[in-house]
Amino acid sequence: MLKIENLNIKYGAIHAIKGIDLEVHEGEIVTLIGANGAGKSSILRAISGLVKASEGTISFMGNSLNKVSAQNIMKMGISQVPEGRHIFSGMTVLENLELGAYQRKDKEGIRKDLQAVYERFPILEKRSRQDAATLSGGEQQMLAMGRALMAKPKLLLLDEPSMGLAPILVREIFSIIEDIHKQGTTVLLVEQNARMALSVADRAYVLETGKVVMSGTGKELAASEDVQKAYLGG
C-alpha cells in the first residue's frame, strides 16, 4: 500500500534520513520505533508532504507522492495525527472535527462519521462546544485522532500518540488504535513507547540516526536481545 524506497531528507546541512526503505501493506499495523532524533517524525512528515524528500521515492497505492502537495496527499487517503496533537486552539471541538472533513463533500457521510467519532470518544461529544485548548492532554489526543478519522483515511499515520499521557490513558489510546485497525484502517505508528508499540504491531522497524537498523514482526523484535537492551529496558 505504502512503499518508501531510498528516502533521504536533509534540513540544510543536517542529513536527517539516510536512505530508508519501508513498506506498509494494506490492513497492517506497522510501527517505527527509535530514540529521539532518530528521524521517525521526519518520515511521517515526508509521507504527508510537509517536507520534501531530497532523494528517493514514496508511493501510495502505486502512485508516487513525491510531487503531490500536502492537501492532495490527504485527499488520496492518508491522514496524520501529528506529534504534540496540534489541535486548533480557539476553535471548538466540533469545529476541529469538521476541519478533519475539510476535503469531503458528502454531508450525509460526514454526519455519520461524526456520530461514529462521538461513539468512539464520548468525551468529545460532551465537550463539543468547548474551546479545544481547554481539553486535557488525553482528550486532546482523542480529538486529534477523531479529527484524522473524520477524513475517512485508508492509511492513518500516528506520531507519538502516547506522548505525555498517564499509563492508564496510554493503554486506552492503544486499545483505540487496535480498534480503528480492526475496522479496516491501515496504521503506521511512530512511538517511543516501544513496548506498547511492539505489542500491537504486525511488523516493526527500528530506526537509529536516520537509518533502519532492524526490522521484523512485532514479536520477533520484542524478543530480540538488542531491542530489549536499547528500548525495553532489559
Binding site: P82, H86, M91
Partner: protein, 292 residues
C-alpha cells in the same frame, strides 16, 4: 452632555474607518505574522478607485464602493503573490522591510499617474443633516456607520460560519496542521489578503465621501493609526481590531474637542506606548501558552 454625545458620534464615524483598515492589518498578521505596512496605501488606492469610478465611469456611490473593494482585493492578492510569498520562509524583518517598500511603491506610482496634489472627491450624496435629540448626524456619517456595521457582520459570518473562514482560522493557529487537514494554505492566505484589502478599499471610498479630499499620501497616517488600533485591540484578534478602531477614533476626537486638537495625534501614539508597556498582547488578546 449633548456635546459629548455629538463627539461620540463623530468619533465613532472616524473610528469605523480605522476599524475597517485595522481588520486588514490584524487578519494578515494573524495568518502570516506580517505587519503589512502597505495596507494603509491599499486604502488610499481604494479612495482613488472610488474617485475614478464616480468621475469617469459615472457610477453611483454603492457601485463605486463595490468596484473599489474588488480592485483592492485583486491588488492585495497580487501584492502577496509577488512581494510576500517568495519571502514566506525568510526572516520576519525581511518581509517587514518589503512591506515598507511596497507601501512607497504604491504611493509614488499613484503620484506618477494622478499627480501629487490633493483632489476633491465628487459630491455623491446630499450632505443633509439629521437632527435627533439635539444631535446632528450627517448623512455621510450614517453611511459610514451603516456600511461598516454591514461589512463587519459580513466578515463575522465569513470567519465563523463558512468553510473558507474556518480554514483561515485553522491556518492562523497552525499552518502545518491545517495542511494535514487538506487545507490549501496558499489559497487561504490569498483569501485573507483579498478580504482585508477589500475592507480597506471600502474604507478609502467612505473617507473620500466624509472628508471630500484624497491624496496619494492620505493612507500614511490613518494606516499607522489603524495599525495602532489593531495592536490596541490585540493583533490577530478580529473583534480586537473592531474595538480598537472605534476606541482610537473616539479617543482622538474627544482629545481634539476637550483638550487640544494639536495633540490628538500624539495621544494616539501615547496609547500605543502604554499598551505595549502594560498589555502587549492587546485588550482582547490572549497570551499564547503551549500545552505539552
Amino acid at each position: 452632555m449633548t456635546l459629548f454625545l455629538q463627539q461620540l458620534v463623530n468619533g465613532l464615524s472616524l473610528g469605523s474607518i480605522f476599524a475597517l483598515v485595522a481588520l486588514g492589518y490584524t487578519m494578515v498578521y494573524g495568518i502570516i505574522k506580517l505587519i503589512n505596512f502597505a495596507h494603509g496605501d491599499i486604502y488610499m488606492v481604494g479612495a482613488y478607485i472610488g474617485y475614478m469610478a464616480i468621475t469617469s465611469l459615472k457610477v453611483g456611490l454603492f457601485p463605486a464602493i463595490i468596484i473599489a473593494m474588488i480592485t483592492c482585493a485583486v491588488l492585495g492578492v497580487v501584492i502577496e503573490k509577488i512581494a510576500y510569498k517568495p519571502l514566506r520562509n525568510a526572516s520576519r524583518i525581511t518581509s517587514l522591510i518589503t512591506a515598507i517598500g511596497v507601501s512607497l511603491l504604491l504611493e509614488y506610482v499613484m503620484m506618477y499617474f494622478m499627480g501629487a496634489g490633493v483632489r476633491t472627491f465628487p459630491d455623491v450624496m446630499d450632505k443633509t443633516k439629521i437632527e435627533f435629540a439635539g444631535l446632528s448626524i450627517t448623512s455621510a456619517q450614517l453611511l459610514i456607520l451603516g456600511t461598516t456595521l454591514l461589512l463587519m457582520l459580513l466578515l463575522q459570518f465569513i470567519v465563523k460560519k463558512t468553510k473558507i473562514g474556518k480554514a483561515m482560522r485553522a491556518v492562523s493557529v497552525d499552518a502545518d496542521a491545517a495542511r494535514l487537514m487538506g487545507i490549501n494554505v496558499d489559497r487561504t492566505i490569498s483569501y485573507t489578503f483579498a478580504i482585508g484589502s477589500a475592507l480597506a478599499g471600502a474604507a478609502g471610498v467612505l473617507v473620500g465621501v466624509y472628508y471630500n479630499t484624497i491624496s496619494p499620501l492620505m493612507g500614511v497616517t490613518p494606516g499607522l493609526k489603524a495599525f495602532i488600533a489593531a495592536v490596541f485591540g490585540g493583533i490577530g484578534v478580529i473583534p480586537g481590531a473592531m474595538f480598537g478602531g472605534l476606541f482610537i477614533g473616539v479617543a482622538e476626537t474627544m482629545v481634539g474637542v476637550y483638550w487640544s486638537s494639536l495633540i490628538k495625534d500624539a495621544v494616539v501614539y501615547i496609547i500605543l506606548i502604554l499598551i505595549l508597556l502594560i498589555k502587549p498582547s492587546g485588550i482582547l488578546g490572549k497570551n499564547v501558552k503551549e500545552k505539552v
